[in-house]
């Protein structure tokens, strides 16, 4: 057996969830070993990768600056053939599960937008209030303090005026650590237009340093590059947590792909096994194991680790591991307008319309969030103007017009958990011989009805208010990269995978925190909720090791 590596807590995955738990454990005096499937990288290299992408790839192909290692594949989209390589997708809405994430140390927060919505109390009680989906096993009052801790851990900026806050009418125990970033011209105009039809476009709370440095990272200076990478780490990404973890005595092994969770007698997890890039395997032991690989990789690993004691996969007596896969099914429209809606000022996303996510209608169809995309549209305007064969002054004029007078508006719908939306192991295997994930996805009538009767008509109204002269809706639902549900939380071990602390029902020393635990997807970006759950799990882990 190669090396007897061991720690009090072994954390698999160095994304935001794993990193927050690691730091909390270290602060409590526990030893921590982190295993990361992919490489450690420097920020400057990602920025150079990005700048060296051709303009047709630089926008929308957020994976392109992050070429994966052979042993830690993730979705690549530069060429269509590439995108079929890793995620095996099927079902009527396979396209909506084309999930982008980064198997590098630091995880997907390398390229996230940084948006940090809290759930509303209603978001956590869909079954009781609307007769659909599942209730969370605790209320908003329980998660609120964890939201506060998460906001201070990441450095979230948001409004201090309660009238501008989300959720509305819910008292915050502490203010945001920083005030909101300013709107650019486009966001300002959208806010005015939206208000006329009863849509409230509000500042999005975001993990971005606003006006001041925070946690050793500089303030946002409007690089407008949040995805795919903040060049200066003004946006929180978990890569910045890694040196802090090491400074506190945590150890991080990169290029270490965990391929097996080993269980012993009495349903205890005894060890995890990881490959190195030479395909040698190593066994690592711990008192507590945290699998925080994201909503696809964690259930994949649990299923792949099936053994005689757990023939259906680890932590899977409920048969819910890999089921209830959720994301916010997205629709986008590209519009052309008579007047400008200037983008490219400040962060790439800085606001959203949220009041459309709530209401009695949720017993009938999904709520949804609306927003404009604020990435600079100059490359799109230029490409379109050049295609028209224009030259000289006419070319420049048309580039300016198309850059300023076109926009992309986005709808993200809330999903419901369905056991048929399921991750299983594909027969195809990756470079290490680990089965690739196969996901069946159908957004369901709850979402389709919402699009037909609610969101798309509303989007038309919004576009009309903006003076749209053309409107091109995406022909199908798309991914939002918020992977949820595959290790669903509940109090009943027969119908859920983890308990309210993200502890696996089946294995008392195994924690599965992250988006996978969320019982409701809602229409809002999931990261802050995942982070709150990570801190809640960390409290439980520390408590468990101190008191047994």
């Amino acid at each position: 057996m190669a090396s007897g590596d061991s720690a009090d807590v072994v954390v698999v995955g160095t994304g935001v969830v794993g990193c927050l738990i690691a730091e909390q454990a270290l602060d409590a005096g526990l030893s921590v070993l982190m295993l990361e499937a992919g490489p450690r990288v420097e920020r400057w290299r990602i920025v150079e990768n990005y700048r060296n992408l051709p303009p047709s790839i630089r926008l929308f192909h957020w994976d392109a600056p992050y070429p994966p290692k052979p042993w830690a594949p993730h979705l690549e989209t530069r060429r269509e053939k590439e995108s079929e390589q890793y995620l095996q997708l099927e079902g009527p809405n396979a396209r909506a599960y084309l999930q982008g994430y980064v198997r590098y140390a630091g995880g997907a927060t390398w390229h996230w937008a940084g948006i940090c919505w809290r759930l509303t109390p209603e978001d956590m009680r869909l079954k009781s209030l609307y007769g659909v989906g599942r209730d969370w096993p605790f209320g908003h009052d329980v998660i609120e303090p964890y939201y506060t801790r998460a906001e201070y851990a990441l450095g979230v900026c948001g409004p201090s005026d309660p009238a501008q806050q989300w959720p509305p009418n819910v008292k915050r125990s502490k203010p945001y650590p920083m005030g909101p970033t300013p709107f650019g011209a486009g966001e300002h105009r959208l806010t005015e237009v939206a208000a006329k039809i009863g849509l409230m476009n509000i500042h999005a709370p975001q993990a971005r340093n606003s006006g001041v440095s925070y946690d050793g990272r500089p303030p946002c200076c409007g690089n407008n590059n949040c995805f795919p990478v903040c060049p200066i780490a003004a946006k929180y990404d978990a890569a910045t947590a890694l040196p802090k973890i090491e400074a506190k005595g945590g150890r991080i092994l990169a290029n270490a792909v965990v391929h097996r969770i080993e269980t012993g007698e009495k349903k205890t997890v005894e060890a995890v096994h990881h490959f190195d890039p030479d395909k040698g395997s190593h066994r690592v032991t711990a008192k507590i194991f945290v699998i925080a690989c994201n909503g696809i990789e964690t259930p994949k690993l649990l299923l792949f680790s099936k053994d005689d004691r757990n023939p259906n996969g680890i932590a899977n007596s409920s048969d819910q591991v890999g089921r209830n896969m959720m994301d916010q099914p997205k629709l986008i429209t590209d519009i052309e307008m008579a007047e400008p809606l200037w983008t490219g000022v400040g962060p790439v996303q800085s606001s959203s319309i949220m009041n459309t996510t709530q209401g009695e209608f949720r017993s009938n169809h999904a709520g949804a969030l609306f927003r404009m995309e604020n990435f600079a549209r100059s490359p799109l305007g230029a490409a379109a103007a050049l295609k028209k064969g224009l030259v000289g002054k006419a070319l420049d004029k048309e580039i300016r017009r198309l850059s300023a007078c076109t926009a992309r508006l986005t709808i993200e719908h809330e999903p419901l958990p369905s056991p048929d939306n399921r991750l299983t192991l594909s027969s195809k295997k990756d470079w290490l011989g680990i089965n690739k994930p196969n996901i069946y996805y159908d957004v369901g009538e709850y979402v389709r009805r919402s699009a037909r009767e609610y969101t798309v008509p509303l989007l038309h109204k919004l576009a009309e208010g903006l003076g749209a002269t053309s409107f091109q809706l995406s022909p199908e639902f798309l991914n939002s990269d918020h992977i949820m549900g595959g290790c669903i939380m509940g109090t009943d071990p027969k119908t859920s995978v983890v308990d309210p602390d993200c502890r696996a029902h089946d294995h008392h020393n195994l924690f599965l925190p992250g988006g996978g635990a969320m019982p409701s997807g809602t229409a809002s970006n999931s990261t802050l909720t995942m982070t709150a759950l990570a801190l809640k799990a960390a409290d439980a882990i520390v408590d468990q090791l101190r008191h047994g």
Binding site: P39, E42, R45, R51, L53, H188, G392, S403
Partner: protein, 200 residues
């Protein structure tokens, strides 16, 4: 039980690849600063797929003289009424000649039309450029300067980013991504009129 498997056999003549460090930056070197330099005869690895430049590219690059470069800059300046960087021009011209062996002749043809009209700006002579390869090349030259690439390929060589002209017409408002020109929260919702054009 020794779980270490046998190392994968290494081809003769290939030195053992360095082990990725567990502590330092170990991203693949496929994306290095060299990518902005012209790769002559080099292999560029993109996600494991090797992209081999064609032989004519190497031959043509050798034939792309200072004279060719100067004429390329001359026609570029006539086609595009903006500041053009000579270094970028050298690379764009050489790369374009690799894709298009007739580039030199076409540049000469375009220059002749321009001289014939005593052209100072593109509007003076562009209507006289005949449909076909000459016009296509003129538009391709303009496109290369605006976009910073000479081909549509998803792994196209990038010759310029912050100096590409596509950002010019909106530089009074829109950031060139990753090249912030403001300070902390240093932007407003002020917008200039659409019909004003920045100088660039």
């Amino acid at each position: 039980m020794d779980e270490r498997k046998q190392r994968a056999p290494i081809s003769p003549g290939v030195t053992e690849r360095p082990k990725p460090s567990r502590y330092r930056d170990d991203c693949p070197t496929a994306f290095s600063l060299d990518r902005r330099e012209l790769l002559l005869g080099g292999l560029s690895l993109v996600g494991g797929l090797a992209v081999v430049p064609t032989l004519p590219a190497i031959a043509a690059a050798a034939a792309w003289s200072q004279e060719s470069a100067a004429r390329f800059m001359e026609i570029s300046s006539l086609l595009i009424p903006h500041r053009l960087h000579e270094d970028v021009g050298k690379r764009i011209g050489a790369a374009m000649s690799g894709f298009n062996p007739s580039l030199s002749e076409q540049v000469a043809g375009l220059l002749a039309i321009a001289k014939n009209k005593n052209a100072r700006i593109v509007e003076d002579f562009f209507p006289d450029v005949p449909e076909g390869p000459l016009k296509e090349t003129a538009l391709a030259i303009i496109s290369a300067w605006y976009l910073g690439v000479v081909s549509d390929a998803p792994d196209a060589e990038v010759f310029a980013y912050e100096y590409t002209l596509m950002y010019g017409p909106t530089k009074d408002v829109m950031t060139i991504p990753s090249y912030a020109v403001s300070g902390p929260n240093g932007w407003t919702s002020d917008a200039p009129p659409l019909d004003s054009m920045p100088e660039f």
